[in-house]
Structures are given as structure tokens and as C-alpha cells.
Symmetry: C2
Subunit: 237 residues, 2 copies
């Protein structure tokens, strides 16, 4: 029996600080060190800011981990391993660590890469994942719109690589496309080709002060949507 610490993978929700769970707040309170993914530009973490109204987090407890945006799989995996090594060092010193992530930690999240690389870096690590509200649930709620009901099925996919996953999926009633930014033109075309543009709507920065709701997806294209944009589409009605 060792005195190893524990890692919490914590979803803080989609942006609105009130959409954090009580479990997430309690786990952050128990954590001696807070990790979050850094963008290449600065050390600001929206995930950390969401937790601040509920937990006093000294800046010295916050450590930013780099997740390079790259298509080079080896560069990415080297970074994930290094990040997991840093977390593992804390756990081996008996410390309780939290990795904060926006939305949900099992849904298109950097925490997924940590979960995977911790398996090789520290196979016996105690890890507890705490779910969070996703952007597509927040957007559906914001619009008083059903995400999925009765016998319908829903496709959750990412627009980061274009619209082909939308084109390929058949016989699904509704769709939620996260990261509808870089490849918005192809995503838009795919939604039209597959009939998912019926009753479709885009939401950007849901629950934050710069929130925007765009009902015309062609308008969305000309707005040059950013990373925080998602689309809800439907074939029904």
C-alpha cells in the first residue's frame, strides 16, 4: 500500500459558472494542485475562472499544461506523456491533483489524452472523472429546444475535420456538431446535402456574455465563427 495521491478529471461545464456541479466544486476544494490545458498564447484558463466564484484558488496552485494543436501524432503524444508525467509526479508525492476541463471530460476533451497516457505513465494511479454539462446540452437548454426525444437518434460529431462524418452517417434524426469553425463551409454543405439544415441553429459562446444565436447558417459562414461555435440540426418537422 502506497501513499499515492489522486487525480480528479473535472468537467466545469460549458462556460456559465453556475453550470458547474456541486461534485466538481467539492473535488476542486479537495485538490492541492490544479492543472489545466494552456493555449499557445497565454496562461489564462476559462476552466479555472469558472471555478473561482466557488473556490479560492491561489495562482501558485495553478499549472498550465501545453496541448499542441498539431496533426503530427508523435509531437502530440510526446506532449501528452510529458503532461501525464508531471501529474504522476504530484500523485507520487501524495498530493491530490485536479485537471480542469471545459464541458465534459469524456467528450472531445483534452482530459481524454491524459486518461490514455496515464495508463502507461502510472498504471496504478487513482483517477476519478467528474462529468460536466456539454456545450450542446447548454445550447439546447438556452433555446428551449429538444435535443433528442422518444425513439429519435442523435449524432454527436465534430466539425474540426470537415463535414464528412455528417455525410457518412445515415438514418439519424438529429445532429449536434461541435467545433463548427475552421471548416464551417464544408460542415454547412454537409448539413444541406443530408437534410440536417431543417430547423438548424448555431450557438456561439453559449451562456457567456458574448453569446450569439444564428438561425441562418449561411450568415454563420460570413461571420467566420470561432472555436466556441456549435450547430444543432434536425431532419424532423
Amino acid at each position: 500500500m502506497t501513499n499515492n495521491g489522486k487525480l480528479y478529471g473535472i468537467g466545469v461545464g460549458p462556460g456559465d459558472p453556475e453550470l458547474i456541479t456541486i461534485k466538481a466544486v467539492n473535488a476542486i476544494k479537495r485538490s492541492e494542485i490544479i492543472f489545466a490545458a494552456s493555449s499557445s498564447r497565454n496562461t489564462y484558463s476559462l476552466a479555472v475562472e469558472i471555478a473561482r466564484p466557488y473556490v479560492d484558488i491561489p495562482d501558485s496552485n495553478i499549472h498550465m499544461l501545453p496541448f499542441p494543436m498539431t496533426k503530427n501524432q508523435q509531437v502530440a503524444e510526446t506532449a501528452w506523456q510529458a503532461n501525464s508525467q508531471r501529474i504522476a509526479n504530484e500523485l507520487r508525492n501524495g498530493r491530490t491533483a485536479a485537471f480542469l476541463t471545459l464541458g465534459d471530460p469524456t467528450t472531445y476533451s483534452t482530459f481524454g489524452y491524459i486518461l490514455r497516457s496515464m495508463k502507461s505513465v502510472m498504471p496504478n494511479a487513482a483517477i476519478e472523472t467528474i462529468p460536466g454539462i456539454t456545450s450542446f446540452h447548454a445550447a439546447s437548454a438556452r433555446l428551449n429546444r429538444i435535443l433528442v426525444e422518444a425513439e429519435e437518434s442523435l449524432l454527436i460529431t465534430s466539425g474540426a475535420f470537415g463535414g464528412d462524418r455528417i455525410r457518412q452517417a445515415e438514418n439519424v434524426d438529429r445532429v449536434a456538431v461541435v467545433k463548427a469553425y475552421k471548416n464551417i463551409k464544408d460542415v454547412n454543405n454537409a448539413l444541406k446535402e443530408t437534410g440536417f439544415d431543417q430547423d438548424s441553429v448555431a450557438v456561439s459562446h453559449c451562456g457567456r456574455k458574448d453569446e450569439a444565436i444564428i438561425h441562418n447558417l449561411d450568415q454563420l459562414e460570413s461571420r467566420h465563427p470561432d472555436y466556441w461555435t456549435l450547430i444543432l440540426g434536425s431532419k424532423t418537422e
Copy 2:
């Protein structure tokens, strides 16, 4: 300008009381009357019990609304209209009302029927939907398992009507099947036929004291799973 009240549609999460959001707790505190869906058998509401550790809710403020489990569309719609009428009466009296639901109110939820029927019963009603953690996010977190990542797509569907929605959907990487109970044999067959039985797992009563994790779906069949059972499946690895 009238003095109408407001309706909150509130997701209290998947069962673990800690998985309620701060926004849900605050909205329940502001509500003078609490509605929840009743089963045919009794007036117990798990959704209300989840909120009780955080909010003092007098029993006299709780009103159970019947949602008959029927394939008769007319019987169902009559009940939805009557429920919305009861809610509308409270709003017209200037009261703040909450409708509590397990999981998320836009995801296979009775609140969807309220949203729809309120449109005809009281078109100008002020309604705010507050999202909740779904069972499939809770189960993925419980298992430290990725729900969906990178360029993968995920099918969310219901097993309540059998496995055909699983069979029909093509070119999807992962699947989450809620309500995997009544038609478990057909759901199971559909998962095998489509290759989604790779790396599959069922979770029952996730985050509650009678939680069970079943890695062999054939065993799941012989256990006669109940309403609170869902399956996570994958074609990858």
C-alpha cells in the same frame, strides 16, 4: 405587461445528488411550487430527493404530474395538455414554478412534452431550461472511459423501441443506448450485428447505491435489466 410567473425546466442530473448544478439548486430555491413526473405507482420522486440535500422543499409545495406510459398518442397528448394547463395556472397567478427531471431536460425527458404543449396552452410563458448531466456522461466518467474524441462520431439512441435505430445508423464510431431494458435482447443483437459490441459495457443505476457495471452483455440479458440501464458501445480498438 403582465405579472405572469416563470417556469424553470430543471435537470437534476443522473442520480448522484452531487451531480446537480449550482444553477439548478439556485432555480429550485427561487421556485414557489415544484412539479415532477409521477410514476403510476406512487408519489415518490427521485428528482425531488436529489435536490433535498441543498434546498428545503416542503411536501406541500410538491405536485406530481402524471405522464401515462402509453402508445396511444391521444391519451398521451391529453395528459401533456392537462399538465401544462396546471403549470400555466400557476404562472398566471404570478408564481415561479419548477419542473424537475432526472438527467437533462432536453434529452429523452418528459420536460420535452411540457415544452411542446406549453406552446399552445400558454404561448407567452416565460420558460428557462436548465441543463443536467446525462446518464451516459455519468457512466463514461464512472468508468474513466472516453465517450467520444477527436474526429469520432457518437450515436445517442434509445433502446425503448428495440435495436432498429442502431441497425439503421451507418458509419458511426461509438454508441450510447439509453433505456436498454424492455427490448434488451433485440438491442443486444443489433449491437452485435453492427460491431458495436466491441469494448461494450452496461451501467445500471449509475452513481446510486445499487449501481452495477456489466461487461458481458449476454449476462445483462439474463439479469433482466431495468429502466435505469444504459449501454456504451464502440467499434474502435
